[in-house]
């Protein structure tokens, strides 16, 4: 168990900045998820922590020790690879024992620790088999057991569930989460699956094009994305973004959606005295739809209704924009029906229209802020670089 501190980590591949000046602190015992689309540099960042990549600038500290120039074997880490990288020419027992043997642990110690790790992952019945005689799900467990047997300071996981089929992945996700919270080791977990990130992480670090875009608790990221990319990447359906024009009327701000009406602005949003174009971000579940009775502030037309069992997903045309809303399954709406739209003004995320970055003043310090004393994302200038101020 140890804190991981990354300071300005940069990794170049030829001219491409695969990892670009990433600074991040992962506290002891924390489960940090690196999330981003493929090619965003998250795996490269993980490999840099492991020591499998030599970084071009910055420092990596594990437990206060500068390991920037140490090879993987001296970093006291363990890694689970996407392909599992289980040694095919060794039995499951020898696979799990591999690292312990390298450390010259005693026979009895090896036997005990292998047994423990195998029991944790329910593979004690497979110890005499070769990996080719096990299933994909079992191999994934072998890889995790092999890592855990090392009792590393830091556990690194590179998309460990992505090679499993959907059903198995769901099961393995829950089990892995329970297991890792029991063990309580500091973990960095790389994934491109936002559901995995939301459901497993203590905190999620969203990456894009080699840079950290936002680091926060899952719910905070969901509710208050730092920019349009994060809002669109996280959540299903993605967050809606409506271009609006803000103006002042009777000393209060009003947001106008072209050809569709107005949206009430919460007085605490700090838009007073402001005017001009903005982006209004709103989650599908924070939009209410009702039959049009006349006199409503915002209206739109139903395009598609998709019944999904637990809820209906409704696609609306609002002015020139498309909006996705979630309604109760029993609410009846017809395509082409004109409807009144109510946007929960307390859940609106305001973004700069040009840079598509959230406005710095975030007064909706919602439930997320109370958890673990974690401050919300703080924006630096107009760029999309977000750094987390810790404690």
């Amino acid at each position: 168990m140890a804190e991981i501190r990354l300071e300005g980590v940069t990794k170049l591949f030829k001219q491409v900045r695969a990892v670009d000046d990433v600074s991040l602190t992962i506290s002891e015992g924390e489960f940090m998820v690196l999330l981003g689309p493929s090619g965003c540099g998250k795996t490269t960042l993980l490999r840099s922590v492991a020591g499998l990549e030599q970084i071009d600038a910055g420092r990596v500290l594990i437990g206060g020790r500068d390991v920037t120039y140490l090879p993987p074997r001296k970093r006291n880490i363990a890694m689970v690879f996407q392909s599992y990288a289980v040694f095919p020419h060794m039995t499951v027992f020898d696979n799990i024992a591999f690292g312990l043997r390298m450390r010259k642990a005693s026979r009895a110690e090896i036997r005990r620790r292998v047994q423990e790790a195998a029991e944790l992952l329910h593979i004690e019945g497979l110890l005499d088999r070769y990996p080719s005689q096990t299933s994909g799900g079992q191999r994934q467990r072998i890889a995790v057991a092999r890592a855990l047997a090392m009792q590393p300071q830091v556990l690194l996981m590179d998309e460990p569930l992505s090679n499993l089929d959907a059903l198995l992945r769901l099961e393995a996700r829950a089990e892995l989460k329970r297991l890792l919270s029991e063990i309580g080791s500091t973990t960095i977990y790389v994934t491109h699956d936002q559901v995995e990130a939301m459901s497993m992480g203590d905190r999620v670090a969203v990456m894009r094009a080699g840079k950290l875009v936002q680091v926060d608790e899952p719910l905070a990221i969901y509710d208050r994305p730092a920019d349009r990319f994060v809002g669109g990447f996280i959540g299903n359906p993605p967050m809606n973004f409506l271009p609006v024009t803000v103006s002042q009327r009777d000393g209060a701000a009003v947001a106008t959606v072209a050809d569709a009406g107005e949206v009430r602005v919460d007085a605490r949003d700090g838009l007073a005295g402001r005017s001009g174009p903005l982006l209004l971000g709103i989650r599908a579940e924070n939009i209410e739809i009702a039959p049009l009775r006349g006199g409503e502030a915002l209206h739109g037309r139903v395009l598609v209704v998709e019944p999904l069992g637990s809820h209906n997903l409704v696609t609306l045309r609002v002015g020139g924009e498309l909006l996705k809303a979630i309604t109760r399954p029993d609410e009846h709406l017809d395509p082409d029906q004109e409807v009144a739209i109510t946007i929960d003004s307390e859940r609106i995320r305001w973004l700069d229209a040009r840079s598509e970055v959230a406005l710095a003043h975030d007064v909706h310090a919602g439930p997320g802020a109370g958890m673990g004393g974690v401050t919300s994302a703080e924006l630096e200038g107009a760029g999309d670089q977000v750094e987390r101020s810790l404690e």
Binding site: A50, G51, L52, P71, P72, R73, I77, A78, M79, F81, S83, A85, V86, F87, P88, H89, F98, G99, M102, R103, Y130, P131, S132, R146, M150, L156
Partner: protein, 283 residues
């Protein structure tokens, strides 16, 4: 990629059977094509010389088995010495080719370096150079260095011939061992060299053994280079070549038979070991 054709449907069974039959037909044809000459050489070498010379058409099963022809061949002057010389040249070639070729193959497989493609091309281009053109300068150089007519001299030449194959085969062998396995070993406490020795090497062993045998066979089969570089102490093919025109046809049968045996036997035994190890490799 074992031959399991999966169709998933019931009618698939018929298709599978047709597929299997085709596989066997092709395999049998190929086997007959390769084995028939070997078989005829073998029975010719094993029938008594009088019959082997006069009988035509040849019987498929010899009426009488005798080792006279082979004994005659083996008792011919210098044949046994040449045989052992060939074995040793092959072994030295094998060791040298792998010692130089395997690291080169590993580098091509694992590392990105400037001029890698050019290097790969150059390796092959040595084979594009016919030995015939090199024959005289080579012989002169060998005589000057005083390594003509020696086992080590021929081995060096054979190593040069076998090296391109050794490099290319070993590099493809190392490519087939996932790099992540070595990386996993490194995160589990291995020095890169240890990771190679404990993980990549055992997994590459079957392929390396195949490469080794291949270089040995290249050396064993070489006539030309050996005949240029040796005179009084030839390898077996060179020895056979020099007496080919003056010897009876039965002598040639025996020579062919004796030359065939080692290759066939070695590959027959190694093959089982290769399949055994490969069977355990995942992917």
């Amino acid at each position: 990629m074992t031959g399991s054709i999966q169709t998933g449907q019931r009618p698939g069974r018929l298709r599978r059977q047709v597929g299997r039959t085709l596989t066997y037909v092709v395999a049998t044809t190929l086997a007959v094509f390769v084995l028939a000459p070997i078989y005829f050489i073998a029975i010719s070498a094993l029938t008594p010389p009088e019959i082997a010379l006069s009988e035509y058409p040849r019987r498929l099963v010899p009426a009488e088995v005798s080792f006279d022809t082979i004994r005659f061949f083996l008792e011919a002057q210098g044949v046994v010495d040449a045989f052992w010389r060939s074995v040793w040249v092959g072994v030295i070639t094998l060791v040298l080719s792998l010692a130089i070729g395997a690291p080169a193959g590993y580098a091509i497989a694992r590392y990105v370096f400037r001029g890698k493609e050019l290097y790969r091309l150059l390796v092959l281009s040595t084979r594009a150079f016919p030995v015939v053109i090199l024959a005289i300068p080579l012989a002169v150089t060998y005589i000057r260095l005083g390594i003509n007519d020696s086992i080590i001299g021929v081995s060096l030449m054979h190593t040069a011939l076998a090296l391109p194959f050794a490099i290319l085969i070993t590099s493809s062998v190392f490519i087939s061992v996932p790099r992540e396995l070595e990386e996993a070993a490194q995160t589990l406490g291995c020095h890169p060299v240890q990771a190679f020795l404990r993980v990549s090497l055992p997994l590459a062993l079957p392929g390396l053994a195949a490469a080794a045998i291949f270089t040995w066979v290249i050396s064993w089969n070489d006539v030309f280079a050996a005949s240029i570089l040796t005179l009084r102490e030839p390898t077996l093919p060179a020895r056979v070549l020099t007496s080919l025109t003056q010897s009876r046809i039965t002598f040639q049968f025996a020579a062919g038979f004796i030359m065939l045996i080692p290759s066939v036997v070695v590959i027959f035994f190694i093959r089982r070991y290769l399949l055994g190890l490969w069977g355990r490799v995942v992917k």
